[in-house]
C-alpha cells in the first residue's frame, strides 16, 4: 500500500514539471499569431501624433545627407 502511495506521489510530483506554458493564444497556420506590436507613434513621446513622428523620421533621414548638412 505504502509503495503504491509513494509511486503515486512520485508520479504526481515528477510530472508536475512537464507542463508547457501556452505561448500562442490562437494558432492559425500560415499567419502570424503572436503578440501584437504597437505603432511607433503610440507612446508618450508622440502621443499618437503620426504626422509628428513622420516629421521626426524624415528629419533624421535628411540628416544623413551631407549635401544638405554642409552644402555643395
Amino acid at each position: 500500500m505504502s509503495k503504491l502511495v509513494i509511486a503515486l506521489l512520485a508520479a504526481v510530483f515528477g510530472l508536475s514539471a512537464c507542463g508547457d506554458k501556452e505561448a500562442v493564444v490562437v494558432y492559425k497556420q500560415g499567419s502570424y499569431s503572436g503578440k501584437t506590436d504597437g505603432k511607433p507613434w503610440e507612446n508618450a513621446a508622440f502621443a499618437g501624433d503620426k504626422a509628428k513622428w513622420e516629421g521626426s523620421i524624415r528629419a533624421r533621414g535628411q540628416a544623413q545627407n551631407e549635401s544638405k548638412r554642409v552644402g555643395d
Binding site: 500560415g30 544623413q64 545627407n65 549635401s67
Partner: protein, 208 residues
C-alpha cells in the same frame, strides 16, 4: 507610409566596424551574436570593397516564408520582426536568409541554440514600447523615439544609410551623380588636386 530600408555605399565604407559596435552597444546584443557585420571583398588588395550587412527587412522575406511556427511579421513601416516567445530556434530562417541575418545565442553546452536574434531596424519587438521586456528580448526601440537605427545614424562616412526607402534612394542618387567617376569618386581631386588654371594665366618668368 515609410518603407524602412538600409543601403550601404561600398565606395564609402572604410571597414571601421563602427556600425557593428554601435549596434552591439545600443541593443546590448548577447555574446556570440552579431546583428550587423562588415564583409570585405579582396581584403588587403588594391580596390578592396567593404559592405555592412544585416537584416535587409525584405518585402517578401524568405525567413517569414519558411518559419514553421510563423513567428515573423511585417510592421506597417516594412520592418521584419519576430516574436521570441514563439520562436523554437530551429534555424530554418538562417538557411533561408540570403544575408545570414538570423543569429542564435549559445544557451548551453554542445552548441545548443537559443531563440533567434536579428536586426530589428531598432524597432524593438512585440512588447510594450520602452518596457524592460522589450529591451531584454529585442533591444532598443529607437523608431518609437522618432530616431533611425544607430548603425546608420552614426556611420562616420555615411556609407550606411537607413530610413525611408525613397529618402535613402534620393540621397544615394544625388551622391552618385555628384561624385562622378575615377579619382573624383572618392575625393582625390578635392583633397590633392591642383586649383584650376585659367588658359590665359601668365606663366611666371624663369631666370636662366
Amino acid at each position: 507610409m515609410a518603407r524602412m530600408k538600409f543601403l550601404c555605399d561600398s565606395e564609402r565604407c572604410i571597414e571601421c566596424n563602427g556600425c557593428v559596435t554601435a549596434c552591439k552597444n545600443e541593443n546590448e546584443v548577447p555574446w556570440g551574436v552579431n546583428r550587423r557585420r562588415v564583409v570585405t571583398l579582396g581584403d588587403g588588395l588594391p580596390g578592396e570593397k567593404s559592405v555592412s550587412v544585416a537584416c535587409m527587412h525584405c518585402s517578401d522575406a524568405p525567413c517569414m516564408a519558411v518559419c514553421p511556427v510563423d513567428c515573423f511579421y511585417h510592421t506597417d513601416e516594412g520592418v521584419v520582426l519576430h516574436d521570441k516567445d514563439m520562436c523554437i530556434g530551429c534555424g530554418y530562417c538562417f538557411y533561408a536568409c540570403p544575408f545570414g541575418a538570423p543569429q542564435y545565442p549559445q544557451t548551453g553546452a554542445f552548441g545548443q541554440r537559443g531563440k533567434m536574434d536579428k536586426c530589428t531596424f531598432c524597432a524593438g519587438g512585440p512588447e510594450a514600447d520602452h518596457s524592460e521586456e522589450e529591451f531584454k528580448k529585442y533591444g532598443r526601440n529607437r523608431l518609437a523615439e522618432g530616431k533611425l537605427p544607430l548603425c546608420a545614424e552614426m556611420c562616420s562616412t555615411k556609407a550606411l544609410l537607413g530610413g525611408d526607402g525613397d529618402v535613402v534612394a534620393d540621397i544615394f542618387r544625388d551622391r552618385a551623380l555628384k561624385r562622378g567617376k575615377g579619382g573624383e569618386m572618392w575625393g582625390w581631386g578635392s583633397a590633392y588636386g591642383k586649383p584650376e588654371q585659367k588658359p590665359d594665366a601668365k606663366k611666371p618668368e624663369v631666370k636662366s
